[in-house]
Symmetry: C2
Subunit: 338 residues, 2 copies
């Protein structure tokens, strides 16, 4: 095993701040706290607090009624929504500027919520080249033509360092129980979820009435059906079967699904890409099924709007403001931006 | 082993925000980035980026010339400086309000910088009762009389959940190399460090000329001497011996050491407390030694100013604004708040 020391120190924040000609952010309050969690006691009665979630929040002056809860995907934490890998503003800033209170959520056993009741052996995993393809930046080491990802070396370096391990198993029940209580305490909020965060959302919706809208960026699994869909997707992973009552919970709020570019239209021999063809097809079938049951699901496949080159990380892509504009339009149309 | 489920959901941020009658924060820019780190390659040439630090920054309008770098202690990350356990503003907000740019730093292998080149088996450690005493909140489960720590159950719950594991060894050389480069890129900054962050600072100062001042909150070790001090402290842990040139690096900037209350004045039979008697004595000897060599070290032991009840976590204690005022006075006196 070779170790390549590579002590970079291009400080995005320092260089970037100079070039930003943005209006200042006016924040009424900001801070952080933990939600949920358990206490484990050993035989001597000594205690261990763990399995909580971490939330960093910012509230603008005159905030809109419904806050946005930001929920990261697999291997990610709050960083997903902060500065982009090339140092521009992420959705934590952008939607704050647009008047929403922001709750940037980290699921238990990760990041600032790493104190885990589960045990884990954490060691280097050489998976980055594979994520580069799965996250549709390109076929490693080549970038897709016109990809909305900065090709300078430092941006990829920053992006890969966003990856952060889970300390133990990813427990959907644990995570969504905490999320459900959190939305109940908020007395209503908009879920903006990415990737595995979208999988969490489908598990969450049957547990609370307080998710008032869902913005699902590149969701990958746990699409729920009452009637088995015609799909190449595998049951139990990409989709699950639920009862009618559970399914009804998906019809109670407006839902926006967004998918990016470079999703194959016919069977691809690159499995990391082909799975996105299957997922997009499944998402369309799910949207139809929910709408037939009285729901309100919109699906945007960006290339159909002539928006090209988006990766799996829409919210930090080079055109993330353009995508944010689409989201804002939808929020307005649904009356969610009051 | 008994598991006590304890699904709390007192959301500090929500309840707190209502009661705050603060002026809004006006922020010129904010975001996050990674600094430093290595790339490990396996035999197949596949890569793993790890051992970077994570930094969250906020810059106020018309920021003062020197930013403040916040460096957490053992088992802590950025949360240390954000909201206090009882939901008030921490030093990340307070010094931002006072006009300083803030860089809230997480050392490699922790929190949002958890991708580690080291291997680690992470599992529950039943150490909380011991930290309660070491961090001088009281003799568990009793609080010290007059302690500056909110005695409601939820505050302790929030406080204990701040604890977050290190993914692998704490590597002082790795961490301080990254910090030194970071201060060099900043072209000057003020280090505000807590506990083990102070130990990092003494290892850092010989590596850069760009730490322009040090605010050391409850530092515990690696005090450096040329001439062996008369102390009960153990060499190699609480203090180390260095050459004259290294020692000189401590004389190049103003340094403020602050210690709280409930430090025994005579030998105590509670070792978790007695160590603080030894450390405070050592800190005084170190301050004298650095000053004799031409340095500018001030030491505040709060009870000597009739400020009582402070724990090891001065920056989040109930009187944290009063302590911040002392720090601001010192910054002003040293011309560091321009």
């Amino acid at each position: 095993m070779k170790k390549l020391i590579f002590l970079t120190l291009f400080i995005m924040g320092i260089s970037q701040a100079k070039s930003l000609e943005q209006k200042p952010l006016v924040i009424a309050s900001q801070g952080s706290f933990f939600v949920g969690g358990s206490v484990l006691k050993n035989d001597e009665g000594k205690s261990f607090h763990g399995d909580h979630a971490y939330v960093y929040y910012q509230k603008p002056m005159n905030a809109k009624k419904l806050p946005i809860v930001l929920l990261h995907g697999i291997h990610q934490a709050t960083k997903t929504w902060e500065s982009t890998p090339d140092g521009r503003e992420g959705y934590a800033n952008i939607f704050l500027r647009r008047g929403f209170s922001i709750y940037n959520f980290t699921t238990p056993r990760r990041g600032n919520a790493s104190r885990s009741l589960d045990e884990a052996l954490i060691k280097p995993v050489f998976d980055e080249e594979s994520w580069f393809v799965k996250w549709r930046i390109g076929i490693y080491p080549n970038y897709f033509k016109g990809v909305q990802f900065s090709k300078d070396k430092e941006s990829l370096n920053q992006f890969l360092r966003q990856i952060t391990p889970n300390i133990g198993k990813i427990d959907f029940e644990l995570n969504t129980n905490i999320l459900a209580n959190f939305f109940d305490e908020l007395k209503g909020g908009i879920m903006m979820a990415h990737s595995q965060g979208v999988m969490h959302t489908w598990k969450l919706l049957p547990k609370t009435k307080n998710v008032k809208a869902v913005i699902a960026l590149e969701g990958g699994g746990y699409f729920s059906f009452v009637k088995r869909p015609q799909t190449e997707a595998s049951e139990g992973v990409e989709y699950i079967m639920v009862d009618e009552k559970t399914f009804k919970s998906f019809t109670k709020m407006p839902i926006l699904l967004i998918y990016g570019d470079n999703i194959p239209t016919t069977k691809s021999n690159v499995p990391e890409l082909d799975i996105w063809r299957i997922r997009l097809d499944l998402a369309k079938k799910w949207a139809n099924a929910v709408n037939e049951a009285g729901g309100d699901v919109s699906l945007i496949h960006l290339p159909e709007l002539k928006i090209y080159g988006n990766t799996h990380f829409l919210m930090s892509d080079l055109n993330n403001v353009e995508i944010a504009d689409l989201i804002s339009e939808w929020l307005k149309e649904k009356g969610l931006d009051k």
